[in-house]
Every structure is written in C-alpha cells, then in structure tokens.
Amino acid sequence: MNAVLPSPVRVLVAEDNEDHRFLTVRALRQAGGDGVEVDSVRDGEQALDYLYRRGDYGGRDRPHLIVLDLKMPRVNGFEVLEKVKSDDELRSIPVVVLTSSDLPKDVSDAYRLGSNSFVTKPAGPEVLKGLLAVGEYWLGGTTSLPEPPR
C-alpha cells in the first residue's frame, strides 16, 4: 500500500476557529510524523485560492487530502466541497468533513456533494489520526476514485 502512497502526504486543513485549526494541525502532524505535510487556511475562500494556486498560494502543490470544516465565513465548507467535487482536476482529492455539527441534514448534504468521510468534533487525537487513514484508503487502497454523485 505504501508503495503507491505519495511521500510526504500533503494535507490541507480548512478551519476558521483558530484553536480547532491548531489542534487539528497538531494532531495530524503528530500522527503522520515525517510522512505528512500539513498546511492550513482560515476560510473557504482561502481554501479555493490554495487549491487553484491563486494569490499568496501561487507556487503551492495541490494537497493529497482536504480536511474541511463546514461552518466557515465567506465561502462555507459545502460550497468548497461542491466546487472541488465538480472540478475535473480536483475531484480526485479525498475530502474529510470535520465539523461540530451532527445534524442528519448536514451529514447527508456533505455526502451528497461528494464528501469522502464525515467526522464530528470533538475528535480526539486517535480519531484525527484516523483521518490520515481515510486519506491513505482513498489514495492507496483504491486505484480510482468513484465519480461523485451529481
């Protein structure tokens, strides 16, 4: 499995709450060690700039995994998710929704828009470590991503 896994695995965390962002990045870095490279953005707009390599993010490589909060200012997580999953170049990047909401509607909407996983906060270090496993599963365990539903 590791043979197909990129090294390092680049992860983008989009989260508006500073503490949550810090903790999530911290957990991912600890869990992945040298094998991961974690970048973070503060809102959906920055996330899209990052993914399309616009503005400050001109030279960045695209991430292998996106960890996405839903409630964000300006452009929310659903909008980012919809954009990513309807873009031919971006849709193969696995997206894990990490949110404090457990509303059934939020869960079903996220999956309908093509999310690959849905994790509800608070998620301890163990769960966040599992996020990487999600990335590994999609990146290494499958040869191709399923088409997200339209």
């Binding site: 949550h20 903790l23 906060k121 301890g124 270090p125």
Partner: protein
C-alpha cells in the same frame, strides 16, 4: 269588460313607468311606452261608442281620430318587440323587418279611404288587403315576441324563466286575439266574437301585467327552487372556516336567487372577499370602489341602479339584478337582509377562525425560532469545549511528566467537567430536536427495541439483571421510542443504588383500555415528593459529582417530551403505590409507567396478547 281590460292596461302602464323611474333601463322605457299608449288609448276609447254605427267619411274629425287610435294600437306589438330588443339585441334584419312592417301598416291605416261601420257586411278589396296586412304585422310580431321571450328565459334562474314564460304567454294570447278579428272579417259581427276579443285582450293584459310587474307572492313562488338550494348552502356557509369559504358558499346562489348576474362580498376594510359573475378584475375593482362609498345604497342607485347592497358589520353584501329580472320590491330587500344577517354571522365566525389560525401560526414560528436558537446556541457552546478538550489532551501528552500526580488529577477533573458539559449540550440538543424534527410514526415492535436497549446498556452494568416480558407493537416514532426506553432503563441502572439491580420491562392494558409499559426495579426508588419533579429539565436527585455516575438531568425531561408527543403520559411510583392495572406486586424500587393511548396499539403478529388488567404472571 271594456272597463276591466282598460283598467289592467292602465295599471300596466303605471307599473312600467314606475320600473322605468326606478332603473331608467331602456327595456322599461319601451315597455312603459307600449302599455302606456295602450292604457291611454283604452281610457280615451272609453269615451267613444263601442261600435261604429255609420261608416266614417274621410273628412270627419272622428275619422282621423279613429285612424290615429288604430295606428297606435297597431304599434303595440312593435313596441313589445322593441322591449325585447332592449333586453337582448335582435339581429338587424329582424329589427328592420319589424320597422318596415309596422311602418307600412301605419301608413296603410292613414291611407284608408274610410272607416267602415261595425255592421257593414260589405268588404271592399282595400279593406281585405288592409286586414291581411294587419294580420301579418300583428301575427308575426306577436308570434315573434312569444318565441323570443321563451328563448330568452331558457337557462336563466327560475325567477327570470317564469317571468319570460308569462310574457311569452301574453304574446301568444295577442296572436290568438286575431281569431275573433278574422271571424268578424268574415262578416260575423255577433256579440260573441266581440266578447271573445275583449276577453282575450283582458287575458293578454293580465299576463303582461304578471310578467312586467309580478306581485311579491308570485316572485317568492318563482324563487322557491333557488331558495331551497340556498338553504342547503347555509349549512356550508356556517361551517366556512375562512371568509373566502363563506363567499364561495353564498355568492353562487345570490345571482340565481335574484335573477341577476353579479354578486359580491367585501370585508370590513372594503377589500373584495369574493365575487360572482363579474367580467373580470376590472369589474371587480369597479364594484369594490362602488361598495366602499359610505352610504352605498343611495349612491349605487345612481351608478348601477340594479345593484342592491346591504351593509354588514363585517363588510358589504351586494347583488345585481339582471336585465330580465323583475324589479326589486320590499320582499327582495327583506330576503337579502335576512341572508345578509346569516353571511355576517358566518363572516364573523370565519374571521375569528382566521385570527386564531394566524395566532397559532405566529406561535409556531416563534416556537420554531426558539428551537433554532437553542440548536445554534448549543452548537456554538460546543466549540470552545472542543478546544478545551483538545488542549487538555495535549497538556497530558506534551507536558504530562512535568504535571506530577496533583497536576494530572486536576487535568482529569477538568477533562471530566468539560466532558460532562459536552454531554449536557448534546442532551439539550437532542431535547430541542424532539420538538423540531417531526418524523412519521411507524410500526415499532417494542420487545425488539427493549432487547436492543438492554443489550446496549448491559456492558456498562454487568451485574444488573434484566427481564423483558411481552411488549406490544405500537404505531409511534421508532427512533424516539428507542431514546425513551434507553433513557428510562439507563435512569434505573444509574439511580438504582445497587450494582446487582434487577430491572423488569413489562406491559399491561389499563382498565381504560390504554396500553401501559412498565420499567420496574428493586433499587432505592424515588422518594414521594420528587416523583413529579424528576421529569423537569435539569432536575436531579443526587449531588452533581463532576459528571461521574449522575446524568445530565435532561434524560427524563426528554422522555416526557417524547411520550407526550405521542399523546401519552409518563409517571413514576413506589413499592407502596397501587398501579393500574392492579394485581401485580411492585418490584420494590421505582416503577416507571408509560401510558400510550389505545389508538397507537397495533396487533403483534404471532404474539400472545398483552395481559389485560387483573392478570398477573
């Protein structure tokens, strides 16, 4: 006989003039002209001898006088046809034919060389030709009127149809009046023929009178079928839940009842509630403008003389008579007013309904907003806790060694508190969601649900023994039923006060036929003073021990909300209380009793029925 006939025609003329004065309609003008001339001639001719003894030569005054009289009489069916024309325009061809024929007859009358004496048996050719012309003119115009009246009434409300039938009959009698004339023309001048012509004239007059100005009794009689339909609609009127429904119940009957075209109902603010028979929004707007005038009854007469409006406490009811309708009398006013009283009552009732419904909707919206607020508030409250729990985790991981035993103890207590607060918020969220998300009921096998609930709780309380007896199948929300049982059983285990607690879940039918689910334990029970209190939100009996052991104080409040949503009730009793049904010894601790109405009970396939009251196992 002559007097009677002339009297009838004079009365007719007066009735027509009154109609015309009231409504200034073109049709009434022609009718007034027709019967007015006839009545006038009748009165004048009373002064003349009934029979002409000598042929009147061309140069006598009486000769010209008679000619004028004859000409005017011959105009009568023509005026009748013009009356018809005003009601419903005739084709140009028909009207021209009537004009030409009547014109020719009048000219011929004045061209007569002399008026023959009554007893004169000699019929010169010019007289025969004149008689023929009169026969054609009179017969054709009267016959035409007869048929047209009949056609005009077809498909109209009964009151109009009857009126038209009577007028048609009158016209038919006019045709008949030719027969005696024909017989006299054959030389039979017997008084029988004369009498017959007078009688026929009288009968025609009576028919015309009934048609033009039907007496109130006759109008009421003609209205009977529509009135009966209206009475049937009154039930619908009084149950109308909206003002719109009131309008739909009554308006379609109004024009029929009054033989008109248009009816309308406006509300207290002058806005249109409903209209019937208008040509469209433009006419609606015109009506609304008319009805919003302060004293509509006076003003309306000027603009739409046939519109009768009754002011209500809650609006205005208006109906417009059609062109064919007999004029409105006091009886019509009374009828409309009594109807208006009904409509007023129904409107008041419907408005009350609408207000109540609006208030309820408002309340629902407010309730919804509150629930939404609770949800988003709980959500936002969770966010700092998530950070707190995260940092506590890393405090332990990164700085665990320098914390020491005391420091680690503090971190443990902080983590427990933050965890407790998280579950408080989670429970609060669930509680708010019970009212917020309305899900459809389904068939729920309670025995299966109880089994799963017990299996879920057992690992955390290995020493507790559970017994699940026969439970019914209910038509309730399955997810909520699971939450309910989980909370009640969890509550028993948590607060039973002993690790080897015995919990029994059983059911019975109450004496009232409702279905009761029991969760009994042999623990410490709930002290009597607190038995109602524990179902309140945040009510807990034990001291708050930092989240360990004690619940959040929301679980039982949630249970009550769930049960009440399905129309049920939840109570708790102690070992000394009598429970319904009696006959079963209480387990010794607390017994939670959930009663559902019998309506949610569904048959369980292949299961033994739930023990009825009095049965024990």
């Amino acid at each position: 006989m002559r007097y009677a006939e002339n009297l009838v025609f004079a009365a007719l003329a007066i009735a027509c003039l009154r109609n015309w004065q009231r409504e200034r309609a073109r049709a009434d003008r022609w009718a007034a002209a027709a019967f007015g001339t006839l009545g006038g001639i009748g009165l004048v001719s009373l002064a003349l001898p009934a029979t002409v003894d000598h042929a009147l030569g061309p140069n006598t005054v009486l000769h010209w006088f008679y000619k004028i009289l004859i000409a005017i009489v011959l105009c009568f069916p023509y005026l009748l046809v013009r009356f018809l024309d005003a009601l419903e325009p005739l084709s140009a061809g028909h009207r021209r034919a009537a004009d030409v024929l009547t014109g020719a007859t009048v000219v011929a009358t004045f061209a007569l060389p002399r008026i023959p004496a009554s007893h004169d048996h000699h019929r010169p050719v010019w007289l025969l030709a004149f008689t023929g012309l009169v026969l054609v003119q009179w017969g054709w115009l009267s016959g035409f009127a007869c048929v047209r009246f009949l056609v005009a009434g077809r498909g109209q409300p009964t009151v109009v149809r009857r009126r038209m039938q009577v007028l048609s009959l009158g016209s038919f009698v006019l045709v008949l009046s030719l027969i005696p004339t024909l017989s006299t023309s054959k030389g039979n001048t017997g008084s029988g023929a004369y009498l017959a012509s007078e009688i026929i004239g009288l009968v025609a007059g009576v028919f015309f009178y009934l048609g033009i100005a039907p007496p109130a009794l006759l109008r009421m009689l003609w209205r009977r079928p529509e009135e009966q339909a209206l009475r049937r609609a009154e039930a619908r009127l009084m149950t109308g839940a909206t003002t719109k429904a009131v309008a739909t119940a009554v308006l379609p009957h109004l024009p029929k009842l009054f033989g008109g075209r248009v009816a309308a109902l406006t509300d207290r603010n002058g806005a249109l509630i409903g209209s019937q028979g208008t040509s469209g929004p433009e006419e609606d707007a015109e009506l609304v403008a008319l009805l919003s005038v302060r004293s509509p009854e006076d003003q309306l007469r000027m603009v739409r003389p046939r519109l009768l409006a009754v002011p209500l406490r809650n609006g205005v009811l208006a109906v417009e008579a059609g062109a064919y309708t007999p004029f409105f009398g006091r009886e019509e006013d009374d009828l409309l007013h009594s109807l208006a009283a009904f409509v007023d009552l129904a409107l008041a009732r419907a408005e009350l309904f609408e207000r109540e419904r609006d208030a309820r909707l408002e309340l629902e919206v407010a309730h919804q907003e509150l629930e939404d607020l609770v949800y988003s508030l709980s959500h936002d409250l969770k966010s700092p806790l998530i950070s707190l729990l995260g940092y506590l985790d890393y405090l332990k991981i990164d700085c665990g060694e320098s914390l020491g035993t005391t420091g680690e103890f503090y971190v443990e207590r902080m983590t427990a508190s933050a965890g407790y607060m998280t579950s408080l918020i989670e429970d609060l969220l669930t509680l708010s969601r019970i009212g917020r998300t309305q899900t459809e009921p389904e068939i729920v096998d309670l025995a299966a649900v109880a089994g799963e609930v017990v299996a879920g709780i057992q690992p955390a309380a290995p020493a507790v023994s559970f017994a699940v007896e026969a439970l019914p199948t209910l038509f309730v929300n399955g997810l909520r039923a699971r939450e309910l049982l989980t909370n009640v059983v969890d509550n028993a285990v948590r607060h039973g006060g002993r690790s080897d607690l015995h919990v029994t879940i059983w059911s019975a039918l109450t004496s009232g036929g409702d279905v009761a689910i029991y969760v009994s334990d042999d623990g410490v029970g709930v002290p009597e003073p607190y038995r109602d209190k524990i179902f309140g939100i945040f009510e807990r009996l034990g001291a708050h021990e930092g989240g360990e052991g004690g619940g959040t104080g929301i679980g039982l409040a949630m249970c009550r909300k769930i049960v009440e949503q399905d129309g049920g009730q939840i109570t708790v009793s102690g070992p000394d209380d009598d429970i319904d049904p009696p006959g079963r010894a209480p387990a010794g601790g607390a017994t939670f009793r959930i009663v559902y109405p019998a309506s949610v009970l569904r048959p369980t396939p292949g299961a033994t029925p739930i023990p009825s009251h009095g049965a024990s196992r």
